[in-house]
């Protein structure tokens, strides 16, 4: 059971969005750049995408979870730490060591990955005004937990060669936690997030089984 009401949570979301404005614009622009780069890669673009993704996790963990959500939920210290860890993991693997190449392809994980990226960058924030969330609480990828998680699942599924499953662990876990938290609040993403997490994780495992264990990036 959550220790706060839907009204209190919605007011917190609205205040967070108001306080960090215009960070939303930067997040949207970076999202558009990321989409462009997965279709038209450039030199260093993979490290750039990983850095953007890592920054999104660290921001969401440190600012949204630890500075805002902790005011009504002590457990947000733990979730914030998980988000920061995930950011560090992506930064180390992708931005630091350059071990991930993000490419939009045509196989099943890629197709699903592109769908999740679209869901995170377009459908999720635009669904705000269509639901009780409204514009003031619209969740934007890069600064809100849900769409950031979906964006990450989608981009990791676009990894060339074997999909780095370790980078999916925290996002997949978070989809379950977020879904369970959203359920009692009757929020629309209560089912979307866990479904995306389970399908992404399954596709990654199935896709990797079809590849030799030492398969490298193409």
């Amino acid at each position: 059971m959550l220790p706060f009401t839907k009204d209190v949570f919605f007011r917190l979301l609205a205040r967070y969005n108001a306080d960090i404005w215009p960070a939303h614009i930067a997040a949207v622009v970076l999202g558009i750049v990321v989409v462009f780069l997965i279709f038209k890669p450039r030199r260093g673009s993979d490290k750039f995408i990983a850095a953007v993704l890592a920054g999104a996790w660290i921001w969401t963990g440190a600012v949204y979870h630890m500075m805002y959500l902790t005011t009504i939920n002590w457990a947000a210290w733990a979730s914030g730490a998980l988000f920061v860890c995930q950011g560090g993991l992506i930064a180390w693997t992708g931005a630091g060591r350059g071990r991930i190449a993000f490419r939009a392809g045509s196989d099943r994980p890629n197709w699903f990955g592109v769908s999740l990226v679209a869901l995170a960058l377009l459908a999720y924030p635009l669904a705000g005004p269509l639901t009780e969330l409204g514009w003031s609480r619209a969740p934007v990828a890069g600064i809100a937990s849900g769409p950031t998680t979906l964006l990450t699942l989608g981009l990791i599924l676009l990894a060339e060669g074997r999909i780095p499953v370790r980078l999916l662990l925290i996002p997949a876990l978070w989809t379950i936690v977020a879904g369970a938290s959203a359920w009692p609040l009757h929020l629309p993403h209560a089912l979307i997030l866990p479904a995306a997490g389970i399908v992404s994780f399954s596709l990654a495992l199935i896709g990797n089984r079809r590849l030799p264990s030492n398969a490298k990036r193409e």
Binding site: L2, P3, F4, T5, V8, R11, L12, R15, T71, I72, N73, W74
Partner: protein, 304 residues
């Protein structure tokens, strides 16, 4: 008195009744009080819980709304406020409210320690005291029996030093009654807290008689089953004895059922609304149902 003056007085009285909702929500008379067996100190039979309802973070508008809820609570004769470090910002918000109230002199502060680590429990209790902003907490309870052996050692020490007046243990949702019973039977505590309401009556079997036998004060949580009782019964007619006991609504029926049990000291309904606080505190006045009325209520709701 002239007819005109008499009519004027009657009109004024009628207007007062129409404009002030409180006379319709509360029976007249003094606040119902019950004694803490350990000391004989009297407490109003209706207190206030803070799970969810006072966890509003640093939202200033919501905090100010809670100030009005607490102002109403004290204006209606309330005293016992129960909270816990588990309840997010509730303790901090209560402290915020108390600092802004001029009518909180009757406060009986009850909070809990909730951590598996005994050393951390000390820090938590010190933090609670700071958050409430009171010189001394009245009651410290071990939340859901978590590491009760360790925390009881600390609480006994604090009580001996005069840092807290009373100590106790809590459960909720009907959990761990067996363990609670053993603690009640053997440990030197002053208070117990558990769930009891018109539908959840397991406590009548062993816990309430044991509390009476051991001279323990009893705080009752979840008196409305977190609102579920209203979902089930709010649109049904009140029982026949409602008027006789000054009950104007189901909230008062549910609360008077609880506090009319001889072993119960106080019930702690939670609310974030002034109108609901008025309804709840209405149960702190007027006659309590007797054993026949209580039995009749159980029979009645079982037919609904």
């Amino acid at each position: 008195m002239s007819r005109r003056a008499a009519l004027g007085s009657m009109g004024a009285a009628a207007a007062a009744v129409l404009l002030d909702p409180r006379p319709a929500l509360a029976a007249p008379g003094p606040v119902l009080e019950k004694a803490i067996p350990a000391t004989g100190e009297l407490l109003p039979a209706i207190g206030m819980g803070s799970w969810i309802t006072f966890n509003v973070g640093d939202d200033t508008d919501l905090r100010e709304a809670r100030v009005e809820v607490l102002r109403t609570f004290f204006a209606q004769g309330g005293a016992v406020i129960d909270s816990s470090p588990m309840y997010g910002s509730s303790e901090e918000v209560i402290g915020y409210c108390l600092a802004r109230l001029e009518n909180a002199q009757t406060l009986f502060s009850a909070t809990k320690v909730w951590t598996p680590l005994q050393w951390h429990g000390v820090l938590q209790m010190e933090s609670s005291q700071t958050l409430w902003g009171t010189e001394r907490l009245d009651l410290l309870q071990i939340h859901n029996l978590l590491n009760w052996e360790g925390h009881l050692e600390t609480l006994l020490d604090w009580k001996a030093q005069g840092r807290v007046r009373y100590i106790g243990v809590t459960t909720s949702h009907g959990r761990r009654h067996g363990d609670l019973e053993k603690i009640m039977a053997a440990q030197p505590i002053d208070f117990v807290q558990f769930t009891y309401n018109v539908l959840d009556r397991e406590a009548e079997q062993r816990l309430l008689p044991l509390a009476a036998e051991r001279g323990l004060a009893v705080i009752i949580n979840r008196p409305f089953q977190r609102g579920a009782l209203f979902d089930r019964f709010a649109d049904r007619p009140l029982p026949a004895w409602a008027g006789e006991c000054g009950c104007a609504n189901w909230a008062q029926i549910f609360l008077k059922f609880i506090v009319s049990h001889p072993a119960v000291t106080c019930a702690i309904p939670a609310t974030s609304r002034v109108d609901h606080m008025l309804e709840n505190m209405g149960a702190a006045r007027g006659r309590l149902p007797d054993a026949d009325m209580r039995a009749g209520l159980i029979r009645y709701i079982e037919t609904l």
